[in-house]
Subunit: 317 residues, 2 copies
């Protein structure tokens, strides 16, 4: 059991209707590792600058996350600044500073090259492929991407897709990738581009899992107090890949479980700024909400005449 | 078993990315009745003008819908004209002509006053209350409303809400009603306003059912070919109320079933323009898709160690 994540470790400045925060711990690899480490062993590949407060990552070490692959370089850390409106569904990016990320050239050590599962966070697909090429025999390869790479590095991305077991991608991004407004058709198009499975993340509207012959649709756990949606997608991915790694399995039923796990973890992430909720989260809380999720979404098979309603909702998978 | 619906019977002109159609059969009562009549006995209260092609409603009569309460008056039928963009989630209203609806004064006959279940379609809450006052002992009172009434007839609407068993309302409308961006909080606020249950319809993103001590969240059935979303909400309501009437039951588990039934019927409605898909729909097709819905959304309880996955996903309700 081991997951390798490559992605950003960042300092974020975030404005939501509930407050403004500066220099928050952020980054795709950070959120992913905080989530996945609740379930399995995680190793991070990334880069930080001299200004990065490394003690901020102590909680990841305490969770057993390996930060050996986190390089510290001269210069400033990658920074992102964004603002969310009242709908909280997608941020306006106010500023992106690549800084030390600009010439990031990930080199995996021997142990990292043996990783069983890989999450290629939302970075330049050139780098995603460079990392993928260094891993010897991954049992599962998952990746995220974003609008910027879909438009600026489309050819590279199209070379990556056939190598992916699971593409985890936002609603709007899969529509952009496919040039298709309907999400079902867009997901199918992404499958035709070569990914074995696609998980379309729809924010507060849930997640849609599609393979060539299987679909699963989970709503998002309804959260009354969404404070900061940053990192929801990456912690979704952490829960998703983390559970599959823990269970060492990828069958359709397991992908369903992993999708719900991703949604469950993400529903915690958004309750506080930055990784604050993930810091204090433990697996028992995750298990409890996963169970609540089941009760929230279960329904019995259709009966058209009045009779006893089964006490349990059982639907054949 | 009997459902009474009051609402518009209209002629619509609709533009979607898939075509432009004029003088289509439309209206909240029409969509509702077409859906509910798959499941139970329905009686329509409404008004049409001299220009209305009454033969268009023959399919409702064939389904057993009583149109005795459909008054024909001098003048033109209520008309709505709208346009949907590529996201297909909410139309831009280009024109609304009340016509004979302007001085509609619904009078129920003796049989209609005995209706067991009532759906107050999206019309002036003054009229909704006037109809409600005429029904003797309804076992279930459901209503819809819209942004226009929320802003222009708020006081009347607030008098109606405590008399409702179920408020069926759009995502954006419940936020407007509550003055609250978060949908969970907005739903709770609507419950505090007096409705015993709230069903928040979220278009392609599903439906959220809330009571004081119970929540249920169903995604929408993913439809690849959405042609015209008009009437999705009203046919949702028709499936919802129709099933509850057929089963003569309102327990939480039944409300779940009814919510999925509403989503199922609505997923057919959007596949063609106007009521075209509802015309050809039969209960066997609805049952099949309801079952598919179950398979699409079922997941097993969480297991954190590798072992046999149960063949059936059973979640305690």
């Amino acid at each position: 059991m081991s997951v390798l994540v490559v992605g950003s470790v960042a300092l974020d400045s975030v404005e939501t209707p509930f407050g403004v925060r500066e220099n928050l711990l952020g980054g795709s690899a950070t959120y992913f590792a905080a989530a996945a480490s609740l379930l399995t062993d995680v190793s991070v590949v990334g880069v930080i600058g001299e200004d990065f407060p490394a003690q901020e990552l102590a909680f990841l070490r305490e969770r057993g996350v390996s930060l050996d692959g986190l390089e510290r370089k001269q210069g400033r850390t990658f920074r992102w600044k964004g603002k969310y409106g009242f709908d909280l569904n997608s941020p306006e990016t106010l500023d992106t500073q690549l800084n030390v990320f600009a010439d990031f050239d990930p080199r995996l050590n021997e142990r990292q090259r043996e990783a069983e599962r890989l999450f290629l966070g939302n970075i330049d697909p050139v780098l995603q492929i460079r990392v993928l090429d260094q891993v010897r025999k991954p049992a599962l390869i998952c990746a995220d991407t974003m609008n910027y790479w879909i438009s600026s590095k489309r050819e590279t991305l199209l070379r990556l897709l056939p190598r992916l077991d699971v593409l985890l991608i936002n609603d709007g991004e899969v529509r952009q990738l496919a040039g298709e407004a309907n999400v079902v058709k867009a997901g199918r198009a992404a499958l035709r581009m070569g990914a074995r499975a696609v998980v379309v993340k729809r924010g507060e509207y849930g997640a849609l899992l599609m393979t060539a012959d299987h679909s699963f649709y989970a709503p998002a756990f309804p959260v009354a107090d969404v404070v900061d949606p940053t990192g929801a997608g990456d912690s979704f991915a952490g829960g998703f890949v983390g559970l599959l790694d823990r269970l060492d399995a990828h069958e359709p039923d397991m992908l369903r479980q992993a999708t719900v796990m991703g949604s469950t973890v993400a529903s915690f992430t958004v309750e506080q700024f930055s990784l604050d909720r993930l810091r204090s989260l433990d697996l028992a809380q995750v298990e409890a909400r996963f169970g609540e999720f089941g009760r929230l979404t279960a329904f019995a098979g259709l009966q058209l005449t009045r009779g006893a309603i089964p006490l349990r909702a059982c639907t054949a998978l």
